[in-house]
Amino acid sequence: MYAFDYARPASLAEAIEAMKDEDAKALAGGQTLIPTLKQRLASPTTLVDLNGIAEIKGICLKDGMVAIGAGTRHAEVADSADVQRLIPALAHLAAHIGDPQVRNRGTLGGSLANNDPSACYPAAVLGLGATVHTSAGRAIAADDYFQGMFETALGEGELITSVDFPVPEKAAYMKFVQPASRFALTGVFVAKFLGAVRVAVTGASESGVFRWPEAEKALSANFSAGALDGVALGADGMIGDLHGTPEYRAHLAGVMARRAVTAAG
């Protein structure tokens, strides 16, 4: 790791100030950033530790939605009685990120800011049509937030503060675990709302998480696994690596989508 200064702001206002330095970088759970720093893939002059900021932590209910602070850890989302009751699929997703030690540190905001193409949370945020709130006072719709692999709508120094998740009638997330990394080899989040179904796929595309309109259309007409018969993703633009070919991932997305529909009930 290159050397850096370590800032510990106690409030969001102080963090925003510290992030004005263009070589500053936010540190949340560190479960992605610290390995990146070790590989010298990032060289911030100042690390701004967000862990002392109470304002961006915690879970509450707001206008019928579940609002989760960006600094909330995966384990807290998994264990939250409110999340379990209102959006069990989201609690289940959080409970299956990485391993217990990753879940004790990693945060929602860190996962979304990073936007790893195989991460789990982006699928929930896009699948539920959540809204990302930022330190610049912006409320960004999920459909506008994810802009490709590791790319987001966040501006320079802009911090995620919280995310509002609408409560679906039913939903489920199914991931096929890549056993070495524990990320999704491919994962699908399916959410049924009154009148519309959203389907988000992670781990498959070279452009990061995406919605699957043909599956949404078929499931909106008939919410059953069988409705997806004959609905298939093309292999174009899918990730190919030593863990799976593009064709394999495209196929897996269909399998995970059917399983998610069945699990949602």
Binding site: G30, I34, K38, L47, D49, G98, R105
Partner: protein, 162 residues
């Protein structure tokens, strides 16, 4: 260098560290507590697991300065006051839960976190909980057995060793 202060195994400690000093470096090199191991340094193996404010974390993936004021517990803090092995450690010895022992400190600390949350885990709960702890020797079977036995002992049940 910045001064950092925390409580480690019940004792107040402090030292000068850089921003980039990891908790595991502070424990091993700063405090000489070499029971916490570094197996991978890439956040995957769990040999470095310690408790920070009661929760298990990978000490190679948290900065020392991020633990300012925290209560840290390491494998050195798991023995009984008279120096004899604590319940989980004793169960690992009794049920052959280790071979080379490299992964063991992390296994014990991870198990302690599980048993503080769930007094009555199933074998499946234990196996799932150990997702982040890699062992190259045992095949996990006796580790799981050790943790199940420790759970039973902590519940006050009698356990026969095989």
């Amino acid at each position: 260098m910045t001064k950092v202060s925390m409580t480690v195994n019940g004792k107040a400690v402090s030292g000068d560290v850089e921003g980039r000093t990891l908790l595991v470096q502070f424990l091993r090199e700063g405090l000489g507590l070499t029971g916490t191991h570094v197996g991978c340094d890439t956040s995957q193996c769990g040999a470095c697991v310690v408790h920070v404010n009661g929760e298990s974390v990978k000490a190679c993936t948290i900065f020392a300065l991020g633990c300012e004021g925290a209560e840290v517990r390491t494998i050195e803090g798991m023995a009984n006051a008279d120096g004899s092995l604590g319940v989980i450690q004793a169960a690992f010895q009794e049920h052959h839960g280790l071979q080379c022992g490299f992964c063991t400190p992390g296994m014990v600390m991870s198990a302690a976190d599980l048993l503080s949350r769930n007094q009555n885990p199933t074998e499946r709960d234990v196996r799932e909980w150990l997702e982040g702890n890699i062992c190259r020797c045992t095949g996990y079977h006796n580790i799981v057995k050790s943790i199940m036995a420790a759970a039973a002992t902590l519940r006050g049940e009698q356990v026969a060793a095989e």
